[in-house]
Symmetry: C2
Subunit: 359 residues, 2 copies
């Protein structure tokens, strides 16, 4: 399959490609939203930030956590659950993040945060979460409606990142400079990775992954990238994928590359490399590659662009997003509909409205 | 294969089975160690606990984090990296955890914690970490030598859990009662899951997983169990395994159960169920099972014993440990040696001693 524009259009009936091409603009607009939200001075006293959300919204939290890994003055914790961690109290800043505003896990956790008297803010395109924030008179970042949540990653991450930097939680993080670099890199990539470009690394990777189970390995610093690739392959390409993190996988998973014997050749490894990973992690990547290469179908290495954390993270994520689109085409799947997530919601609704406290 | 004692003995040349059978005693002894360590009163003021360690030691941190999920008054963060999170300062309690005492990631992170003036304590059987703790005159929990790190999980978790409870970080956690229940449950299980018992759930599960790629699904509250099963299958059974967490996997991974088509029937799902999981998570488990069952080789459900968090976590972990031993036998692998982790260490050593600051 040639993976040209017509091949994409055949499956991409709701135009995921367009959203992907507009991603740099989305990030620019998202920054503006993060600059304009009013933030109480008291939020600066928070001892910990908890971003509570699921799926496409939670990954925004991971992106923030990884971008600020060298800069955050307080712990930034992503909570993917109905329940809020027990330590959350009035000295914790809780960010409720749900693109639709109707994610039941997020609503329950945010409701609990309000009850505990935590400092609260919300980010959503509307729904119940917007109403809760309005009723409680807490800051609300209102993002545009109409996207599949995973295609709104710029909107679910950059405004909160901007707010956290404005609140002083990352004193040495040059957000303006980092974002400028990231936008430049993303715009270049949109030119290079779109379907009209034949000699295209995203297409090449998708062709390698087609029919294989992708295993994504990244360093701890780039964990958000591995989670995103896995998620986009599941939702866009309708393909399972799994992830492992270095150095941790060197302490257990690497021993697993012996069984089940007949299956390993159906696994294709994507190694997310960063020339600025910790010196020993870079060595570990090389040694790991040598150990597993012969057992797997193959190892494909990918590299970030730019120098700042944000450019690196976003460039690797953007590459993965394109790969997932091409892999969807190879799988004959429309990248946009997520039918089973719909089935889940419908069946859960039969169990009654949730959270009950909001019923 | 009958998986009786002689079948195990054929592969288990370094007697992992013996360590497994002694696990309840290990937990009892570990509690004693946690009670006897002297702890500075100042540690009570910590705003956050960071447990830094890798592999078999890090999973001890996950176990603590999950056990205290409803009780912890401060964030408990497990750090699997050379680098320490940027927020760690003199108000953070850092626990350096390395069974051998020579894990280079842990040594570098612990060295950094000392430099930043964090409150520090160490848990190890010796090595460089013990020397660092002695030199810095910080509390050191000395655990017995001679175990493969993953077989010392009682020693790497319970003393730190005990110390954290003693320091007041989990005011409503009844450690004595929870541990008593857990020990009773583990002793029963040792009777029921050992190779002399023919009608044995651990053997049954191993037989189902043999030749398949295990996918472990658990609720967020039992995340440590999923990580442990995956790790034990890698290290003991020399088999890859992957894990997914609910509710998060309902927001992405569930859509992936369509491709690669030819492969899905080679994946066997283990669902870690808990009758006391969040009401909606229990519903999600049922719906998820219905959606994926027809695509996978099969779904095997396992349940915890006991009522307290500790009994539940440890009983599920203990079951997984036995499963990994039987799966090792089915794979014809000696569960103890971890040859590649040795190769990694040797090759890393060629790159020079690490951390350099300790050279």
């Amino acid at each position: 399959m040639r993976l040209d524009r017509s091949a994409i259009e055949r499956v991409d009936r709701e135009n995921m490609l367009k959203l992907l091409m507009e991603f740099p603009d989305q990030c620019r607009d998202a920054y503006r939203l993060g600059l304009s939200v009013e933030l109480p001075r008291g939020f600066r006293e928070a001892r910990c930030v908890v971003i509570t959300g699921m799926g496409g919204s939670a990954i925004g939290g991971d992106l923030i956590r990884c971008a600020l890994r060298e800069a955050a003055a307080v712990p930034i914790i992503v909570n993917r659950h109905y329940r809020l961690p027990s330590f959350v109290d009035e000295k914790t800043l809780v960010v409720g993040s749900s693109y639709s505003g109707n994610t039941e896990e997020t609503l329950e956790a945010f409701d609990e945060a309000l009850k505990r008297g935590a400092m609260c803010m919300a980010i959503t395109s509307g729904g119940e979460l917007a109403e809760m924030a309005d009723r409680a008179e807490v800051p609300l970042i209102k993002i545009p409606q109409g996207y599949p949540p995973r295609a709104a990653l710029g909107y679910t991450s950059i405004p909160v990142l901007t707010a956290l930097v404005r609140l002083g939680f990352a004193p040495n993080f040059d957000l303006t400079g980092q974002l400028e670099e990231a936008l430049k890199v993303l715009e270049e990539m949109a030119e290079e990775l779109n379907p009209d470009v034949e000699d295209n690394p995203a297409k090449e990777i998708a062709l390698k992954l087609h029919g294989k189970l992708p295993i994504i390995y990244a360093s701890q610093d780039l964990e958000a990238v591995a989670i995103r690739w896995k998620g986009q392959m599941s939702e866009n390409s309708k393909s399972l994928a799994y992830a492992g993190i270095l150095p941790e996988m060197n302490h257990n998973e690497i021993e697993g590359w012996r069984h089940p014997e007949g299956l390993l050749k159906s696994l294709h490894i994507v190694m997310i490399r960063d020339p600025e990973d910790h010196e020993r992690v870079r060595m570990r990547m090389e040694i790991t590659k040598g150990i597993v290469r012969g057992h797997a179908d193959g190892v494909t290495e990918v590299y970030p662009r730019g120098r700042g954390e944000l450019a690196k993270l976003l460039s690797l994520i953007y590459l993965g997003d394109f790969v997932s689109l091409y892999l969807a085409a190879l799988n004959g799947e429309d990248p946009t509909p997520v039918e089973r997530i719909g089935v889940l919601k419908k069946k859960l609704a039969e169990g009654g409205k949730w959270p009950k406290s909001l019923g």
